[in-house]
């Protein structure tokens, strides 16, 4: 087809559409749903699905759909589908970053719909609670909004264990291994732990990993090592605690204990542990 004819048809098309749109205006709708209304903090990814629908008999022009990811939610990926999805182009944050998803289309045909599926996850360092995702559609000067709530669940069951030598001699130094295991996906925030040495023992050194790295204080008067208000991530956190046995320490079984004072946002699976060293 000659280009002059194509150009002429295009001009007439635009002119005709303008005339029609002066007498009729489309009103596309927006809706949002989620694949998981109770996502686990730090857990599996889930999706938000935004559907933009044009139920009218005339195309809608200049559409903008935006979804600011709620706080602590991290973008993973995005897909566009639907009969009108081909007209949309989206910008979004980098992978595992929070930010704005913005999708634009110059037109959405009559009766067409676009489906934008956003896969996201929740940062593991978070409290439980409700987060609201609000998708906003702007067509020309008209805005409509759809919202959905996610009720975040913290999953951080904590257990503690302590191990050490079964026997020692007065005047020796002995090392105990204190271990916290968080088998959940979430970080337990503001958790507090303490360990107590028996009479005749005193603190020599402490060497920690994970949540127990440089987070514990020793109080000599109570022979207590306290790790206060710490964040315990998924997995193991360890503390090697070396104590000195006084030459005057009582002989016999000496109990060293380690426990959870407060699980913070986590839960207690195994709250205390102890080991006995027989002092000779």
């Amino acid at each position: 087809m000659p280009r002059s004819i194509i150009r002429g048809r295009a001009i007439l098309c635009v002119f005709g559409l303008a005339l029609l749109s002066a007498g009729a205006q489309s009103a596309p709708t927006v809706a949002i749903i989620t694949s998981n209304s109770t996502p686990v903090v730090g857990g599996a990814a889930f999706s938000f699905t935004i559907t933009v629908n044009n139920p009218d008999a005339i195309a809608a022009n200049n559409l903008r759909v935006s979804l600011p990811l709620p706080p602590s939610m991290l973008f993973q990926n995005l897909a566009i589908s639907g009969t009108g999805g081909g007209g949309f182009d989206c910008t979004h944050p980098g992978q595992a970053e929070n930010g704005l998803i913005l999708c634009e289309a110059s037109a959405l045909a009559a009766g067409a719909s676009a489906v934008i599926t956003i896969v996201a996850s929740v940062d593991p360092v978070n409290s439980s609670g409700v987060r609201t995702a609000a998708a906003r559609l702007v067509v020309g000067t008209t805005a409509t909004t759809a919202t959905i709530q996610s009720n975040l669940q913290v999953n951080a069951p904590l257990s503690v264990t302590i191990s050490g030598p079964s026997s020692a001699t007065r005047g020796e130094r002995v090392s105990y291994l204190l271990l916290i295991n968080n088998v959940g996906d979430s970080t337990a925030i503001n958790a507090t732990f303490s360990a107590i040495l028996p009479v005749g023992f005193s603190h020599f050194s402490a060497q920690g990993t994970g949540a127990l790295a440089n987070t514990c204080d020793y109080t000599g008067s109570t022979r207590t090592l306290t790790c206060s208000s710490i964040a315990v991530p998924k997995g193991f956190s360890k503390l090697t605690w070396t104590a000195e046995i006084a030459a005057s320490a009582p002989t016999g079984g000496a109990l060293v204990s380690f426990g959870i004072n407060n699980a913070g946002t986590g839960t207690i699976a195994v709250g205390s542990s102890s080991t006995i060293t027989t002092v000779n």
């Binding site: 999805g85 980098g94 992978q95 037109a107 020796e172 130094r173 002995v174 090392s175 050194s205 060497q207």
Partner: protein
């Protein structure tokens, strides 16, 4: 209520517009993508994605091409070329970051090609495996066009471990040295050493990725360091330990 005349006017207008708009007035831009390296190394040399946007018909309007960087890929830089490249303007992530490359042209002339070359690299602390880059282009009134290219990322991590002992009086020192000579990081390594009989831990001074990752279990006498990853270079844990027998001996000497 509209009159019959009004309805007829709408019907005729609609039919006329259908004829006008259903023709080839809109041109479809198409997209292709290739990579300079199908087997990039995690933490290794940069490579490129070349996204080619082709418009073989009449001028295309509102052309938008997008390339989300695959997981683990880090943007380095971008260049636009080709006969239609002058029409395009791109936004991209900051250097060293993951994100979206998005290029827009209000008009792309007929029979032109735009080439967007995106230089990227894969982060060192990622496992090997397949990553897929998907480029997508839309233009006004035309069907969407997508293209994909797959890459098999290689993690070439390897490390060597050595120990050096220095005996002391009450306290002795063991220097645990780990050298990662590869560009990729070692993921979830376990580096360990067994201390002599009846050893207790005094403290550990560590460097690099071994900081705050080591613990000691007195029964097995094992010092175990478990960082999330070990990056290229040297990492040292200086383990200061004592021996109960030494303490006992020193106390009576």
């Amino acid at each position: 209520m509209r009159s019959y005349g009004g309805r007829l006017r709408w019907l005729i207008s609609g039919l006329a517009l259908f004829w006008l708009c259903s023709g080839s007035a809109y041109a479809a831009a198409t997209v292709g993508i290739v990579t300079s390296n199908a087997n990039p190394v995690a933490g290794g040399a940069a490579f490129s994605y070349t996204v080619t946007i082709t418009n073989n018909a009449v001028a295309a309007s509102n052309v938008r091409a997008s390339l989300p960087m695959p997981s683990g890929a880090r943007f380095q830089n971008l260049a636009i070329a080709g006969t239609g490249g002058g029409s395009f303007e791109c936004t991209q992530p900051a250097a060293g970051r993951n994100g979206l490359v998005d290029c827009v042209a209000p008009q792309m002339p007929a029979s032109t090609v735009a080439t967007v070359t995106v230089v990227a690299s894969f982060q060192p602390d990622m496992a090997g495996g397949v990553r897929t880059a998907t480029a997508r282009v839309i233009s006004q009134g035309a069907p969407v066009s997508t293209a994909q290219v797959g890459q098999t990322v290689v993690n070439n991590a390897s490390f060597t471990q050595s120990i050096t002992d220095a005996e002391g009086g009450t306290l002795s020192t063991r220097r645990l040295r780990v050298n990662v000579s590869s560009s990729s990081s070692v993921i979830l390594p376990a580096v360990s050493t067994i201390l002599p009989d009846s050893a207790y831990l005094a403290w550990i001074e560590a460097t690099g990725d071994l900081v705050d990752t080591c613990s000691f279990e007195m029964v097995s006498r094992e010092v175990l360091c478990q960082p999330r990853s070990l990056s290229s270079g040297v990492h040292v844990a200086t383990i200061v330990y004592g021996r109960a027998t030494n303490l006992f001996r020193d106390g009576f000497e």
